[in-house]
Amino acid sequence: MSKKILAAPYLLWMAGFIIIPLALIVYYGLTDKNGAFTIANVASIGTPEHVKALWLSLWLSLVSTAICLVLAYPLAMILRNRGIGRGSFIVFIFILPMWMNFLLRTMAWQTLLEKNGVINGILSLLHLPTQSLINTAGAIILGMVYNFLPFMVLPIYNVLCKIDDDTINAARDLGANSVQTLLRIWFPLSVPGVISGITMVFVPALTTFVISNLLGGSKILLIGNVIEQEFTRGSNWHLGSGLSLVLMVFILISMAVIAKYDKNGEGSAF
Protein backbone atom coordinates (compact mmCIF):
# COMPACT_ATOMS: atom_id res chain seq x y z
CA MET A 1 0.00 0.00 0.00
CA SER A 2 2.69 2.51 1.02
CA LYS A 3 4.50 1.85 -2.22
CA LYS A 4 1.46 2.99 -4.13
CA ILE A 5 1.45 6.27 -2.24
CA LEU A 6 5.03 6.86 -3.33
CA ALA A 7 3.89 6.74 -6.94
CA ALA A 8 1.34 9.52 -6.41
CA PRO A 9 3.66 12.46 -7.20
CA TYR A 10 4.61 10.78 -10.45
CA LEU A 11 0.99 10.25 -11.38
CA LEU A 12 0.29 13.92 -10.68
CA TRP A 13 3.27 14.84 -12.84
CA MET A 14 2.04 12.64 -15.64
CA ALA A 15 -1.45 14.09 -15.49
CA GLY A 16 -0.28 17.67 -15.33
CA PHE A 17 2.55 17.68 -17.80
CA ILE A 18 1.83 14.83 -20.19
CA ILE A 19 -1.86 13.99 -20.32
CA ILE A 20 -3.33 17.49 -20.10
CA PRO A 21 -1.02 19.03 -22.73
CA LEU A 22 -1.66 16.10 -25.04
CA ALA A 23 -5.39 16.41 -24.53
CA LEU A 24 -5.16 20.12 -25.33
CA ILE A 25 -3.34 19.34 -28.57
CA VAL A 26 -5.97 16.82 -29.55
CA TYR A 27 -8.68 19.35 -28.68
CA TYR A 28 -7.07 22.18 -30.65
CA GLY A 29 -6.17 19.87 -33.51
CA LEU A 30 -9.73 18.69 -33.99
CA THR A 31 -11.57 22.01 -33.62
CA ASP A 32 -11.74 25.20 -35.64
CA LYS A 33 -11.61 28.80 -34.40
CA ASN A 34 -15.21 28.63 -33.19
CA GLY A 35 -14.65 25.43 -31.29
CA ALA A 36 -16.61 23.27 -33.73
CA PHE A 37 -15.33 19.81 -34.57
CA THR A 38 -13.35 19.57 -37.82
CA ILE A 39 -10.73 17.37 -39.35
CA ALA A 40 -9.58 20.17 -41.69
CA ASN A 41 -6.50 20.85 -39.56
CA VAL A 42 -5.32 17.28 -39.77
CA ALA A 43 -6.32 16.97 -43.42
CA SER A 44 -4.32 20.07 -44.31
CA ILE A 45 -1.22 17.88 -44.23
CA GLY A 46 -2.29 17.13 -47.82
CA THR A 47 -1.62 20.66 -49.14
CA PRO A 48 1.40 20.81 -51.48
CA GLU A 49 3.49 22.96 -49.10
CA HIS A 50 2.89 20.68 -46.14
CA VAL A 51 3.51 17.52 -48.14
CA LYS A 52 6.75 19.00 -49.43
CA ALA A 53 7.86 20.00 -45.93
CA LEU A 54 6.96 16.57 -44.56
CA TRP A 55 8.83 14.70 -47.29
CA LEU A 56 11.85 16.91 -46.85
CA SER A 57 11.77 16.30 -43.10
CA LEU A 58 11.42 12.56 -43.59
CA TRP A 59 14.25 12.51 -46.10
CA LEU A 60 16.66 14.63 -44.04
CA SER A 61 15.97 12.69 -40.86
CA LEU A 62 16.38 9.35 -42.67
CA VAL A 63 19.75 10.46 -44.01
CA SER A 64 20.86 11.73 -40.61
CA THR A 65 19.71 8.53 -38.93
CA ALA A 66 21.64 6.44 -41.43
CA ILE A 67 24.79 8.52 -40.94
CA CYS A 68 24.40 8.29 -37.16
CA LEU A 69 24.09 4.52 -37.36
CA VAL A 70 27.17 4.14 -39.56
CA LEU A 71 29.19 6.35 -37.21
CA ALA A 72 27.80 4.99 -33.97
CA TYR A 73 28.06 1.25 -34.46
CA PRO A 74 31.84 1.03 -34.86
CA LEU A 75 32.26 3.56 -32.08
CA ALA A 76 30.09 1.50 -29.74
CA MET A 77 32.10 -1.61 -30.69
CA ILE A 78 35.37 0.16 -29.88
CA LEU A 79 34.02 1.46 -26.59
CA ARG A 80 32.79 -2.00 -25.60
CA ASN A 81 36.00 -3.76 -26.52
CA ARG A 82 38.14 -1.31 -24.59
CA GLY A 83 36.65 -2.56 -21.33
CA ILE A 84 35.39 -0.61 -18.38
CA GLY A 85 38.38 1.53 -17.40
CA ARG A 86 39.34 3.44 -20.46
CA GLY A 87 35.96 2.89 -22.06
CA SER A 88 34.03 4.73 -19.42
CA PHE A 89 36.34 7.71 -19.73
CA ILE A 90 35.62 7.87 -23.45
CA VAL A 91 31.90 7.51 -22.76
CA PHE A 92 32.27 10.39 -20.32
CA ILE A 93 33.96 12.53 -22.94
CA PHE A 94 31.20 11.59 -25.30
CA ILE A 95 28.42 12.60 -22.93
CA LEU A 96 30.18 15.78 -21.83
CA PRO A 97 28.84 18.03 -24.62
CA MET A 98 25.33 16.94 -23.73
CA TRP A 99 25.69 18.88 -20.50
CA MET A 100 25.81 22.03 -22.53
CA ASN A 101 22.64 23.49 -23.93
CA PHE A 102 21.60 21.93 -27.20
CA LEU A 103 20.92 25.34 -28.66
CA LEU A 104 24.24 26.86 -27.77
CA ARG A 105 25.99 23.95 -29.44
CA THR A 106 23.96 24.44 -32.59
CA MET A 107 24.74 28.15 -32.55
CA ALA A 108 28.39 27.26 -32.22
CA TRP A 109 28.08 25.34 -35.49
CA GLN A 110 26.70 28.51 -37.01
CA THR A 111 29.92 30.28 -36.12
CA LEU A 112 31.96 27.40 -37.54
CA LEU A 113 30.10 27.18 -40.84
CA GLU A 114 29.52 30.85 -41.59
CA LYS A 115 30.95 32.54 -44.63
CA ASN A 116 33.46 34.35 -42.44
CA GLY A 117 33.40 31.50 -39.95
CA VAL A 118 36.12 29.34 -38.46
CA ILE A 119 36.19 26.66 -41.18
CA ASN A 120 36.35 29.15 -44.03
CA GLY A 121 38.92 31.14 -42.07
CA ILE A 122 41.20 28.10 -41.96
CA LEU A 123 40.56 27.36 -45.63
CA SER A 124 41.46 30.85 -46.74
CA LEU A 125 44.55 30.73 -44.51
CA LEU A 126 45.64 27.68 -46.52
CA HIS A 127 44.79 29.55 -49.73
CA LEU A 128 42.00 27.12 -50.49
CA PRO A 129 38.71 28.37 -51.95
CA THR A 130 36.09 29.10 -49.29
CA GLN A 131 32.95 27.00 -49.27
CA SER A 132 29.36 28.01 -48.76
CA LEU A 133 28.46 25.60 -45.99
CA ILE A 134 25.71 27.22 -43.98
CA ASN A 135 22.06 27.56 -45.07
CA THR A 136 22.11 24.28 -47.00
CA ALA A 137 20.42 20.94 -46.48
CA GLY A 138 23.89 19.54 -45.74
CA ALA A 139 24.31 21.91 -42.82
CA ILE A 140 20.98 20.76 -41.38
CA ILE A 141 22.00 17.11 -41.68
CA LEU A 142 25.29 17.93 -40.00
CA GLY A 143 23.43 19.62 -37.17
CA MET A 144 21.11 16.66 -36.74
CA VAL A 145 23.92 14.11 -36.77
CA TYR A 146 25.99 16.14 -34.34
CA ASN A 147 23.16 16.71 -31.89
CA PHE A 148 21.59 13.27 -31.96
CA LEU A 149 24.65 11.01 -32.33
CA PRO A 150 24.88 10.28 -28.58
CA PHE A 151 21.31 8.99 -28.68
CA MET A 152 22.46 6.40 -31.18
CA VAL A 153 25.76 5.48 -29.52
CA LEU A 154 24.50 4.95 -25.99
CA PRO A 155 21.75 2.39 -26.63
CA ILE A 156 24.00 0.37 -28.95
CA TYR A 157 26.86 0.55 -26.46
CA ASN A 158 24.58 -0.60 -23.64
CA VAL A 159 23.37 -3.59 -25.62
CA LEU A 160 26.85 -4.55 -26.78
CA CYS A 161 28.12 -4.45 -23.19
CA LYS A 162 25.53 -7.03 -22.21
CA ILE A 163 26.75 -9.54 -24.80
CA ASP A 164 28.75 -12.18 -22.98
CA ASP A 165 32.38 -12.58 -24.12
CA ASP A 166 31.81 -16.36 -24.03
CA THR A 167 29.29 -16.07 -26.86
CA ILE A 168 31.91 -14.41 -29.02
CA ASN A 169 34.62 -16.86 -28.03
CA ALA A 170 32.30 -19.76 -28.81
CA ALA A 171 31.70 -18.37 -32.28
CA ARG A 172 35.43 -18.05 -32.85
CA ASP A 173 36.03 -21.59 -31.53
CA LEU A 174 33.50 -22.89 -33.99
CA GLY A 175 35.45 -21.34 -36.84
CA ALA A 176 33.63 -18.11 -37.55
CA ASN A 177 35.87 -15.37 -38.89
CA SER A 178 35.54 -11.69 -37.80
CA VAL A 179 33.03 -10.78 -40.50
CA GLN A 180 30.88 -13.81 -39.73
CA THR A 181 31.01 -13.06 -35.99
CA LEU A 182 29.95 -9.50 -36.68
CA LEU A 183 27.09 -10.39 -38.98
CA ARG A 184 25.85 -13.56 -37.27
CA ILE A 185 26.54 -12.81 -33.60
CA TRP A 186 27.21 -9.18 -32.77
CA PHE A 187 24.61 -7.60 -35.00
CA PRO A 188 21.60 -9.86 -34.32
CA LEU A 189 22.21 -9.58 -30.59
CA SER A 190 22.44 -5.79 -30.77
CA VAL A 191 19.23 -5.25 -32.75
CA PRO A 192 17.25 -3.92 -29.74
CA GLY A 193 19.88 -1.23 -29.21
CA VAL A 194 20.00 -0.36 -32.90
CA ILE A 195 16.22 -0.06 -33.12
CA SER A 196 16.06 2.05 -30.01
CA GLY A 197 18.89 4.23 -31.33
CA ILE A 198 17.19 4.66 -34.68
CA THR A 199 13.93 5.84 -33.13
CA MET A 200 15.72 8.09 -30.66
CA VAL A 201 17.47 9.84 -33.54
CA PHE A 202 14.72 9.69 -36.13
CA VAL A 203 11.88 11.13 -34.05
CA PRO A 204 13.63 14.27 -32.79
CA ALA A 205 15.25 14.79 -36.20
CA LEU A 206 11.83 14.59 -37.84
CA THR A 207 10.29 17.17 -35.55
CA THR A 208 13.15 19.62 -35.14
CA PHE A 209 12.71 23.22 -36.14
CA VAL A 210 15.57 24.86 -34.29
CA ILE A 211 18.32 23.15 -36.28
CA SER A 212 16.71 24.03 -39.61
CA ASN A 213 16.18 27.61 -38.46
CA LEU A 214 19.73 28.13 -37.26
CA LEU A 215 21.71 26.14 -39.81
CA GLY A 216 19.28 26.36 -42.74
CA GLY A 217 18.77 30.13 -42.56
CA SER A 218 15.00 29.47 -42.60
CA LYS A 219 15.32 28.87 -46.34
CA ILE A 220 14.47 25.22 -45.94
CA LEU A 221 11.03 24.59 -44.56
CA LEU A 222 10.66 21.40 -42.51
CA ILE A 223 7.39 20.20 -41.03
CA GLY A 224 8.63 21.27 -37.59
CA ASN A 225 9.11 24.81 -38.90
CA VAL A 226 5.59 24.85 -40.31
CA ILE A 227 4.16 23.90 -36.93
CA GLU A 228 6.33 26.38 -35.05
CA GLN A 229 5.28 29.16 -37.44
CA GLU A 230 1.62 28.36 -36.93
CA PHE A 231 2.04 28.78 -33.19
CA THR A 232 4.36 31.75 -32.94
CA ARG A 233 3.67 33.77 -36.08
CA GLY A 234 0.36 32.64 -37.53
CA SER A 235 -1.58 32.62 -34.27
CA ASN A 236 -3.23 29.47 -35.62
CA TRP A 237 -2.93 26.98 -32.78
CA HIS A 238 -5.61 24.80 -34.37
CA LEU A 239 -3.64 24.15 -37.55
CA GLY A 240 -0.39 23.75 -35.62
CA SER A 241 -1.98 21.17 -33.33
CA GLY A 242 -3.56 19.35 -36.25
CA LEU A 243 -0.19 18.96 -37.93
CA SER A 244 1.36 17.88 -34.62
CA LEU A 245 -1.21 15.10 -34.47
CA VAL A 246 -0.04 13.92 -37.89
CA LEU A 247 3.55 13.88 -36.67
CA MET A 248 2.48 11.93 -33.62
CA VAL A 249 1.52 9.10 -35.96
CA PHE A 250 5.19 8.68 -36.79
CA ILE A 251 6.10 8.68 -33.14
CA LEU A 252 3.48 6.03 -32.43
CA ILE A 253 4.83 3.92 -35.28
CA SER A 254 8.33 4.08 -33.85
CA MET A 255 7.02 3.19 -30.39
CA ALA A 256 5.34 0.17 -31.91
CA VAL A 257 8.60 -0.83 -33.58
CA ILE A 258 10.47 -0.55 -30.30
CA ALA A 259 7.86 -2.63 -28.54
CA LYS A 260 8.27 -5.33 -31.18
CA TYR A 261 12.06 -5.57 -31.21
CA ASP A 262 13.05 -4.46 -27.76
CA LYS A 263 10.70 -6.36 -25.50
CA ASN A 264 12.88 -6.30 -22.41
CA GLY A 265 13.93 -2.65 -22.64
CA GLU A 266 17.52 -3.72 -23.17
CA GLY A 267 18.13 -0.97 -25.66
CA SER A 268 17.44 1.90 -23.29
CA ALA A 269 20.01 4.64 -23.47
CA PHE A 270 20.88 5.07 -19.82
Binding site: I25, E114, T207, F209, S218, L221, E228, F231, T232, S241
Partner: protein, 376 residues
Protein backbone atom coordinates in the same frame (compact mmCIF):
# COMPACT_ATOMS: atom_id res chain seq x y z
CA UNK B 1 11.19 45.20 -32.39
CA UNK B 2 12.59 42.22 -30.62
CA UNK B 3 16.18 41.67 -29.96
CA UNK B 4 16.59 38.77 -27.69
CA UNK B 5 17.35 35.68 -29.65
CA UNK B 6 18.57 33.87 -26.58
CA UNK B 7 15.23 34.20 -24.88
CA UNK B 8 13.55 32.77 -27.90
CA UNK B 9 16.17 30.09 -27.91
CA UNK B 10 15.61 29.11 -24.31
CA UNK B 11 11.88 29.13 -24.74
CA UNK B 12 12.00 26.86 -27.73
CA UNK B 13 14.61 24.43 -26.51
CA UNK B 14 12.12 22.64 -24.33
CA UNK B 15 9.82 22.23 -27.28
CA UNK B 16 12.53 20.85 -29.49
CA UNK B 17 12.43 17.23 -28.51
CA UNK B 18 8.75 17.03 -27.94
CA UNK B 19 7.18 19.34 -30.41
CA UNK B 20 3.83 18.44 -29.00
CA UNK B 21 4.61 20.71 -26.09
CA UNK B 22 3.20 23.94 -27.38
CA UNK B 23 5.82 26.46 -28.40
CA UNK B 24 3.54 29.45 -28.08
CA UNK B 25 2.92 29.32 -24.40
CA UNK B 26 6.45 28.14 -23.67
CA UNK B 27 7.61 31.49 -24.98
CA UNK B 28 5.46 33.31 -22.51
CA UNK B 29 6.30 31.21 -19.48
CA UNK B 30 10.00 30.82 -19.91
CA UNK B 31 10.64 34.49 -20.30
CA UNK B 32 9.95 35.38 -16.75
CA UNK B 33 10.65 33.87 -13.37
CA UNK B 34 7.24 34.64 -11.94
CA UNK B 35 4.21 34.38 -14.17
CA UNK B 36 0.97 35.86 -13.00
CA UNK B 37 -1.49 33.63 -11.26
CA UNK B 38 -4.39 32.74 -13.51
CA UNK B 39 -6.88 33.71 -10.86
CA UNK B 40 -4.76 36.19 -8.92
CA UNK B 41 -6.75 38.41 -6.60
CA UNK B 42 -7.06 41.95 -7.89
CA UNK B 43 -5.07 43.59 -5.13
CA UNK B 44 -4.23 47.15 -6.03
CA UNK B 45 -0.50 47.00 -5.39
CA UNK B 46 0.31 44.77 -8.35
CA UNK B 47 0.82 45.33 -12.05
CA UNK B 48 1.17 42.65 -14.71
CA UNK B 49 3.18 43.95 -17.65
CA UNK B 50 3.55 42.11 -20.96
CA UNK B 51 6.22 43.55 -23.23
CA UNK B 52 8.72 42.71 -25.97
CA UNK B 53 12.09 41.25 -24.97
CA UNK B 54 14.76 43.87 -24.20
CA UNK B 55 12.24 46.61 -24.62
CA UNK B 56 12.74 48.55 -21.41
CA UNK B 57 15.56 49.75 -19.21
CA UNK B 58 15.21 47.44 -16.19
CA UNK B 59 16.25 50.33 -13.98
CA UNK B 60 12.99 52.04 -14.95
CA UNK B 61 10.95 49.16 -13.53
CA UNK B 62 12.79 49.41 -10.23
CA UNK B 63 12.24 53.17 -10.08
CA UNK B 64 8.53 52.71 -10.79
CA UNK B 65 8.24 50.14 -8.02
CA UNK B 66 10.08 52.34 -5.53
CA UNK B 67 8.08 55.41 -6.36
CA UNK B 68 4.61 53.89 -6.37
CA UNK B 69 4.99 50.85 -4.13
CA UNK B 70 3.38 48.77 -6.86
CA UNK B 71 4.91 45.36 -7.44
CA UNK B 72 5.56 44.81 -11.15
CA UNK B 73 5.31 41.33 -12.62
CA UNK B 74 7.06 41.56 -15.95
CA UNK B 75 6.61 39.04 -18.76
CA UNK B 76 7.99 38.96 -22.28
CA UNK B 77 6.76 37.98 -25.71
CA UNK B 78 8.62 37.69 -28.99
CA UNK B 79 5.97 38.26 -31.64
CA UNK B 80 2.61 40.01 -31.77
CA UNK B 81 1.10 36.78 -32.98
CA UNK B 82 2.37 34.90 -29.95
CA UNK B 83 1.01 37.55 -27.59
CA UNK B 84 -2.48 37.76 -29.11
CA UNK B 85 -3.93 34.32 -28.27
CA UNK B 86 -2.69 34.67 -24.70
CA UNK B 87 -4.54 37.95 -24.21
CA UNK B 88 -7.55 36.61 -26.09
CA UNK B 89 -7.78 33.41 -24.03
CA UNK B 90 -7.69 35.51 -20.88
CA UNK B 91 -6.34 32.65 -18.78
CA UNK B 92 -3.57 35.04 -17.80
CA UNK B 93 -4.71 38.61 -17.24
CA UNK B 94 -2.18 41.29 -18.00
CA UNK B 95 -2.78 44.90 -17.05
CA UNK B 96 -0.69 46.60 -19.66
CA UNK B 97 0.68 45.32 -22.96
CA UNK B 98 2.83 46.82 -25.70
CA UNK B 99 1.76 45.48 -29.13
CA UNK B 100 2.38 46.96 -32.59
CA UNK B 101 0.05 49.02 -34.73
CA UNK B 102 -1.84 46.39 -36.73
CA UNK B 103 -2.19 44.13 -33.71
CA UNK B 104 -3.69 46.97 -31.66
CA UNK B 105 -6.25 47.42 -34.43
CA UNK B 106 -7.05 43.72 -34.30
CA UNK B 107 -7.44 43.87 -30.52
CA UNK B 108 -9.72 46.92 -30.79
CA UNK B 109 -11.85 45.25 -33.46
CA UNK B 110 -12.18 42.13 -31.37
CA UNK B 111 -13.10 44.19 -28.33
CA UNK B 112 -10.15 43.14 -26.21
CA UNK B 113 -9.01 46.60 -25.10
CA UNK B 114 -10.23 49.03 -22.47
CA UNK B 115 -10.36 52.78 -23.07
CA UNK B 116 -7.58 54.57 -21.25
CA UNK B 117 -8.68 57.20 -18.76
CA UNK B 118 -6.38 59.99 -19.85
CA UNK B 119 -7.09 61.98 -16.69
CA UNK B 120 -4.72 59.54 -15.04
CA UNK B 121 -2.13 59.95 -17.78
CA UNK B 122 -1.36 63.69 -17.83
CA UNK B 123 2.09 63.11 -19.29
CA UNK B 124 0.53 61.99 -22.55
CA UNK B 125 1.05 65.68 -23.49
CA UNK B 126 4.72 64.84 -23.87
CA UNK B 127 4.03 62.61 -26.87
CA UNK B 128 4.60 64.48 -30.11
CA UNK B 129 1.14 65.11 -31.66
CA UNK B 130 2.51 63.84 -34.97
CA UNK B 131 2.66 60.33 -33.50
CA UNK B 132 -0.78 60.57 -31.94
CA UNK B 133 -1.95 61.36 -35.44
CA UNK B 134 0.00 58.44 -36.85
CA UNK B 135 -1.64 56.20 -34.23
CA UNK B 136 -5.05 57.16 -35.58
CA UNK B 137 -4.50 54.82 -38.49
CA UNK B 138 -5.10 51.93 -36.11
CA UNK B 139 -6.70 53.67 -33.11
CA UNK B 140 -8.97 56.26 -34.81
CA UNK B 141 -9.83 58.33 -31.74
CA UNK B 142 -6.62 57.80 -29.74
CA UNK B 143 -8.74 56.19 -27.06
CA UNK B 144 -6.92 52.91 -26.50
CA UNK B 145 -3.19 53.41 -26.96
CA UNK B 146 -0.21 55.57 -26.02
CA UNK B 147 2.80 55.43 -28.39
CA UNK B 148 6.01 54.01 -26.91
CA UNK B 149 8.49 53.48 -29.74
CA UNK B 150 8.40 53.92 -33.49
CA UNK B 151 10.65 53.31 -36.41
CA UNK B 152 11.06 52.32 -40.01
CA UNK B 153 12.27 49.29 -41.90
CA UNK B 154 15.06 49.87 -44.39
CA UNK B 155 18.10 48.42 -46.10
CA UNK B 156 21.39 48.13 -44.27
CA UNK B 157 24.39 47.76 -46.55
CA UNK B 158 28.09 47.11 -46.29
CA UNK B 159 29.87 49.76 -48.35
CA UNK B 160 33.09 47.81 -48.85
CA UNK B 161 31.41 44.55 -49.80
CA UNK B 162 29.22 46.28 -52.38
CA UNK B 163 32.29 47.91 -53.89
CA UNK B 164 33.93 44.48 -54.20
CA UNK B 165 30.82 43.15 -55.92
CA UNK B 166 30.65 46.18 -58.21
CA UNK B 167 27.15 47.08 -57.06
CA UNK B 168 25.97 50.63 -56.40
CA UNK B 169 24.56 51.28 -52.92
CA UNK B 170 20.89 50.32 -52.83
CA UNK B 171 18.33 53.11 -52.94
CA UNK B 172 15.14 51.15 -53.49
CA UNK B 173 13.65 47.76 -52.71
CA UNK B 174 14.04 46.67 -56.35
CA UNK B 175 17.80 46.70 -55.78
CA UNK B 176 17.34 43.58 -53.65
CA UNK B 177 16.56 41.66 -56.82
CA UNK B 178 20.00 42.38 -58.35
CA UNK B 179 21.56 39.07 -59.35
CA UNK B 180 25.01 40.30 -58.49
CA UNK B 181 23.89 40.16 -54.86
CA UNK B 182 23.39 36.41 -55.00
CA UNK B 183 23.90 34.93 -51.53
CA UNK B 184 24.49 38.39 -50.06
CA UNK B 185 20.95 39.32 -49.02
CA UNK B 186 19.42 38.93 -45.57
CA UNK B 187 15.62 39.10 -45.59
CA UNK B 188 13.23 39.43 -42.66
CA UNK B 189 11.76 36.10 -41.62
CA UNK B 190 8.22 37.31 -41.01
CA UNK B 191 5.22 37.26 -43.30
CA UNK B 192 4.16 40.88 -43.32
CA UNK B 193 7.68 42.30 -43.42
CA UNK B 194 8.73 40.09 -46.31
CA UNK B 195 5.58 40.85 -48.29
CA UNK B 196 5.96 44.55 -47.49
CA UNK B 197 9.28 44.53 -49.37
CA UNK B 198 7.82 42.85 -52.46
CA UNK B 199 4.54 44.81 -52.47
CA UNK B 200 6.29 48.15 -52.07
CA UNK B 201 8.76 47.24 -54.81
CA UNK B 202 5.85 46.70 -57.18
CA UNK B 203 4.26 49.99 -56.15
CA UNK B 204 1.38 48.37 -54.28
CA UNK B 205 0.17 49.14 -50.80
CA UNK B 206 1.75 46.97 -48.11
CA UNK B 207 -1.77 46.52 -46.76
CA UNK B 208 -2.91 45.09 -50.07
CA UNK B 209 -5.71 42.55 -50.06
CA UNK B 210 -5.85 42.26 -53.84
CA UNK B 211 -5.28 38.69 -54.92
CA UNK B 212 -3.37 39.59 -58.11
CA UNK B 213 -1.08 41.95 -56.24
CA UNK B 214 -0.39 39.34 -53.59
CA UNK B 215 0.28 36.64 -56.18
CA UNK B 216 2.72 38.97 -57.94
CA UNK B 217 4.47 39.72 -54.64
CA UNK B 218 4.67 36.01 -53.87
CA UNK B 219 6.20 35.29 -57.27
CA UNK B 220 8.73 38.09 -56.72
CA UNK B 221 9.72 36.62 -53.38
CA UNK B 222 10.12 33.19 -54.95
CA UNK B 223 12.28 34.71 -57.69
CA UNK B 224 14.36 36.46 -55.06
CA UNK B 225 14.83 33.36 -52.90
CA UNK B 226 17.92 31.99 -54.69
CA UNK B 227 19.66 35.31 -54.05
CA UNK B 228 18.79 35.32 -50.36
CA UNK B 229 21.42 34.05 -47.97
CA UNK B 230 19.02 33.56 -45.07
CA UNK B 231 15.68 34.64 -43.65
CA UNK B 232 16.40 35.93 -40.17
CA UNK B 233 15.00 38.38 -37.65
CA UNK B 234 17.33 39.44 -34.87
CA UNK B 235 20.43 38.03 -36.49
CA UNK B 236 20.46 40.59 -39.30
CA UNK B 237 22.26 42.94 -36.95
CA UNK B 238 25.04 40.57 -35.90
CA UNK B 239 25.48 39.02 -39.32
CA UNK B 240 25.87 42.45 -40.92
CA UNK B 241 28.35 43.55 -38.26
CA UNK B 242 30.25 40.32 -38.85
CA UNK B 243 30.44 41.06 -42.59
CA UNK B 244 28.45 37.95 -43.48
CA UNK B 245 26.26 39.65 -46.08
CA UNK B 246 26.29 42.78 -48.25
CA UNK B 247 22.71 43.93 -47.67
CA UNK B 248 20.04 43.24 -45.09
CA UNK B 249 16.50 44.34 -44.35
CA UNK B 250 16.47 45.74 -40.83
CA UNK B 251 14.53 47.76 -38.27
CA UNK B 252 15.85 51.28 -37.88
CA UNK B 253 16.08 50.94 -34.12
CA UNK B 254 19.12 48.71 -34.43
CA UNK B 255 21.14 51.46 -36.12
CA UNK B 256 22.52 53.20 -33.02
CA UNK B 257 23.84 49.91 -31.71
CA UNK B 258 25.30 48.98 -35.08
CA UNK B 259 27.02 52.34 -35.51
CA UNK B 260 28.53 52.10 -32.03
CA UNK B 261 29.59 48.51 -32.53
CA UNK B 262 31.25 49.18 -35.90
CA UNK B 263 33.17 52.04 -34.30
CA UNK B 264 34.17 49.97 -31.26
CA UNK B 265 35.39 47.00 -33.27
CA UNK B 266 37.45 49.19 -35.60
CA UNK B 267 36.10 47.38 -38.67
CA UNK B 268 37.46 48.25 -42.11
CA UNK B 269 33.97 48.67 -43.55
CA UNK B 270 31.02 50.86 -42.74
CA UNK B 271 27.37 49.93 -42.55
CA UNK B 272 24.88 52.45 -43.92
CA UNK B 273 21.11 52.55 -43.58
CA UNK B 274 18.83 53.71 -46.35
CA UNK B 275 15.07 54.25 -46.52
CA UNK B 276 13.98 52.83 -49.90
CA UNK B 277 12.44 55.27 -52.37
CA UNK B 278 9.28 53.23 -52.84
CA UNK B 279 8.43 53.82 -49.20
CA UNK B 280 8.49 51.44 -46.31
CA UNK B 281 6.83 50.25 -43.14
CA UNK B 282 6.44 52.95 -40.54
CA UNK B 283 5.67 51.13 -37.32
CA UNK B 284 4.53 52.17 -33.91
CA UNK B 285 4.47 50.13 -30.72
CA UNK B 286 2.05 51.47 -28.14
CA UNK B 287 0.89 50.67 -24.63
CA UNK B 288 -2.65 49.37 -24.31
CA UNK B 289 -4.78 48.08 -21.44
CA UNK B 290 -6.66 44.81 -22.03
CA UNK B 291 -10.32 44.80 -21.13
CA UNK B 292 -9.88 42.10 -18.52
CA UNK B 293 -7.10 43.98 -16.70
CA UNK B 294 -7.48 43.72 -12.93
CA UNK B 295 -5.34 46.72 -12.04
CA UNK B 296 -6.35 49.32 -14.59
CA UNK B 297 -5.37 52.34 -12.49
CA UNK B 298 -1.93 50.94 -11.89
CA UNK B 299 -1.62 50.38 -15.63
CA UNK B 300 -2.44 54.04 -16.22
CA UNK B 301 0.15 55.03 -13.60
CA UNK B 302 2.66 52.86 -15.48
CA UNK B 303 1.89 54.47 -18.84
CA UNK B 304 2.05 57.94 -17.31
CA UNK B 305 5.38 57.11 -15.69
CA UNK B 306 6.86 55.93 -19.01
CA UNK B 307 5.71 59.15 -20.69
CA UNK B 308 7.84 61.28 -18.38
CA UNK B 309 10.59 62.82 -20.50
CA UNK B 310 13.53 61.67 -18.36
CA UNK B 311 12.14 58.14 -18.10
CA UNK B 312 11.46 58.01 -21.85
CA UNK B 313 15.02 59.24 -22.42
CA UNK B 314 16.46 56.50 -20.17
CA UNK B 315 14.44 53.92 -22.10
CA UNK B 316 15.51 55.35 -25.44
CA UNK B 317 19.15 55.17 -24.43
CA UNK B 318 18.73 51.53 -23.46
CA UNK B 319 16.61 50.21 -26.34
CA UNK B 320 17.78 52.76 -28.98
CA UNK B 321 14.48 52.61 -30.85
CA UNK B 322 13.25 56.13 -31.72
CA UNK B 323 11.01 57.66 -29.07
CA UNK B 324 7.82 59.54 -29.96
CA UNK B 325 8.27 61.51 -26.73
CA UNK B 326 8.89 65.17 -27.58
CA UNK B 327 10.13 65.96 -24.08
CA UNK B 328 12.66 63.14 -24.22
CA UNK B 329 13.75 64.09 -27.74
CA UNK B 330 14.52 67.62 -26.56
CA UNK B 331 16.78 66.22 -23.84
CA UNK B 332 18.98 64.37 -26.35
CA UNK B 333 22.31 65.59 -27.78
CA UNK B 334 21.99 67.55 -30.98
CA UNK B 335 24.12 65.02 -32.81
CA UNK B 336 21.66 62.27 -31.95
CA UNK B 337 18.67 64.42 -32.83
CA UNK B 338 20.15 64.89 -36.29
CA UNK B 339 21.02 61.22 -36.81
CA UNK B 340 19.00 60.47 -39.92
CA UNK B 341 19.15 56.72 -39.42
CA UNK B 342 17.35 57.04 -36.09
CA UNK B 343 15.16 60.12 -36.58
CA UNK B 344 14.57 60.49 -40.33
CA UNK B 345 13.15 63.73 -41.76
CA UNK B 346 9.43 63.71 -42.26
CA UNK B 347 9.97 64.37 -46.00
CA UNK B 348 11.67 61.01 -46.43
CA UNK B 349 8.63 59.27 -44.96
CA UNK B 350 6.10 60.40 -47.57
CA UNK B 351 5.61 57.00 -49.18
CA UNK B 352 5.58 55.13 -45.91
CA UNK B 353 2.59 53.30 -44.52
CA UNK B 354 1.55 51.85 -41.21
CA UNK B 355 0.56 48.18 -41.12
CA UNK B 356 -3.13 47.61 -40.71
CA UNK B 357 -4.91 44.48 -39.52
CA UNK B 358 -6.49 42.94 -42.60
CA UNK B 359 -8.78 40.43 -40.95
CA UNK B 360 -8.19 36.78 -40.10
CA UNK B 361 -9.08 35.62 -43.57
CA UNK B 362 -6.53 37.82 -45.34
CA UNK B 363 -3.96 37.01 -42.66
CA UNK B 364 -4.53 33.37 -43.56
CA UNK B 365 -3.93 34.12 -47.25
CA UNK B 366 -0.67 35.91 -46.42
CA UNK B 367 0.44 32.96 -44.30
CA UNK B 368 -0.34 30.44 -47.03
CA UNK B 369 1.49 32.47 -49.68
CA UNK B 370 4.48 32.85 -47.37
CA UNK B 371 4.53 29.10 -46.84
CA UNK B 372 4.62 28.68 -50.61
CA UNK B 373 7.61 31.00 -50.77
CA UNK B 374 9.41 29.21 -47.97
CA UNK B 375 8.80 25.71 -49.25
CA UNK B 376 9.75 26.56 -52.81
Amino acid sequence: MKKNLVLYALATVAATFFLSACGGSAGGEASSAAGPEPDGAGSSDELYVYNWGEYIDEEVITRFEEETGIRVVYDLFETNEEMYPIIEAGAVTYDVVCPSDYMIQKMIENDLLAEINFENVPNVDQIDPAYMEMAQSFDPDNKYSVPYCWGTVGILYNTKRLEELGVAPPAKWADLWDEKLSGEILMQDSVRDAFMVALKKDGFSMNSTDEDELQKAKQDLIDQKPLVQAYVIDQVRDKMIGGEAAVGVIYSGEMLYIQEEVANLGLDYTLEYVLPEEGTNLWLDSWVIPKNAKNKENAEKWIDFLCRPEIAKANFEYITYPTPNKGAFDLLDEELQNNQSVFPDTESLVNCEVFRYLGDEVDGIYNDLWKEVKSN
